[in-house]
Point group: C2
Chain length 194, copies 2
């Protein structure tokens, strides 16, 4: 194993251009309207409208019940590492799903309801993305790779899941519009743990 | 709902700059060495070495058994939509996990073994990424959102999973070096279905 940091080519790999393949059309025009994805049974229907040149690429999706949608959280605030690292002692950046992160890419497993290789339209249930959100990728959800039902989470996450996630409600956090959070509750989780 | 395609600001949302947050250090220097992620019990250990400025962002990961790693498949061939759409009638682009796609971003659920907020090192098991692969994001795996054990897949995928994925072997596909596939088998699956 070589150390990538010593790899002379690494400098050329510090950023990449990622392209929009389509846009979300949803009922959510404000962050506070975005529901929690896990409450699929109450989730609204959203549409992904692929750019025409990608429409044919939807072929083969028949038979998948779920897909993974990646999207650029275009309303997220720019991420900056807090200057004061002492309070909290460590920054919960990679331990939450908040979109305020170095790369504001959201990732959600959603139910695939229908799609068209002609129009490039994909109809899904449970996508927690604002109307107009740029979509970056669609991947098939394959339980063999993607499903770990017994995966553990920290207590502070479990407590929050138990207290907030038993019903399909939508958060109406006053700060939500600032956070534009993929899962707004996690901002709250952070605040509880400061 | 407005149609994003008619949104005058959409033109400004057609591509984004995504930044490397670290690099993979693994035993896999060639694509043919990359194992299948789902066979976690045979998977090798890999390291993610975050750039120093992101190290503190690992705080709070204690208690998570799994994380989702996004990475730029830097060895993937550039994607082009095939010109002949008739054979196969539709292109299986979004129906596979092949990295030859508009945005060559791989996404894998891996076991979190250890991490350090000082060194920025993350030790994981089951990461199907070449040595030197740029890492784009680390997200916590939260079963409530991410685990759908009963999600269905098409018959052509299930057949392939059943025939190839019962043991922890590594594929040695002659074409693998050209594909640089996140899951090399899926290239085979495509070929079977032409």
């Amino acid at each position: 194993m070589k150390r990538p940091n010593n790899n002379p080519s690494a400098a050329a790999l510090d950023s990449f251009s990622i392209r929009t393949i389509g846009y979300v059309q949803s009922a959510y025009t404000k962050t506070k309207d975005v529901p929690h994805t896990h409450t699929g049974w109450t989730a609204d229907t959203s549409y992904i409208r692929l750019l025409p040149r990608y429409a044919k690429g939807l072929g083969g999706l028949t038979g998948y019940s779920h897909i993974i949608v990646s999207f650029w959280v275009h309303k997220a605030k720019e991420w900056k590492m807090p200057k004061n690292h002492r309070k909290p002692p460590h920054v919960k950046l990679f331990a939450t799903r908040m979109p305020v992160r170095p790369n504001p890419v959201g990732m959600s497993v959603v139910e695939l309801l229908n799609f068209s290789t002609d129009s490039g339209e994909v109809i899904v249930k449970g996508l927690d993305a604002l109307d107009g959100t740029p979509v970056l990728d669609i991947k098939p959800y394959i339980p063999n790779f993607d499903s770990y039902p017994k995966a553990s989470v920290p207590d502070w996450v479990r407590r929050h899941l138990n207290s907030h996630h038993h019903s399909g409600h939508t958060h109406h956090d006053e700060n939500a519009d600032n956070n534009t959070s993929q899962y707004p509750y996690e901002q709250g989780a952070l605040e509880h743990n400061k």
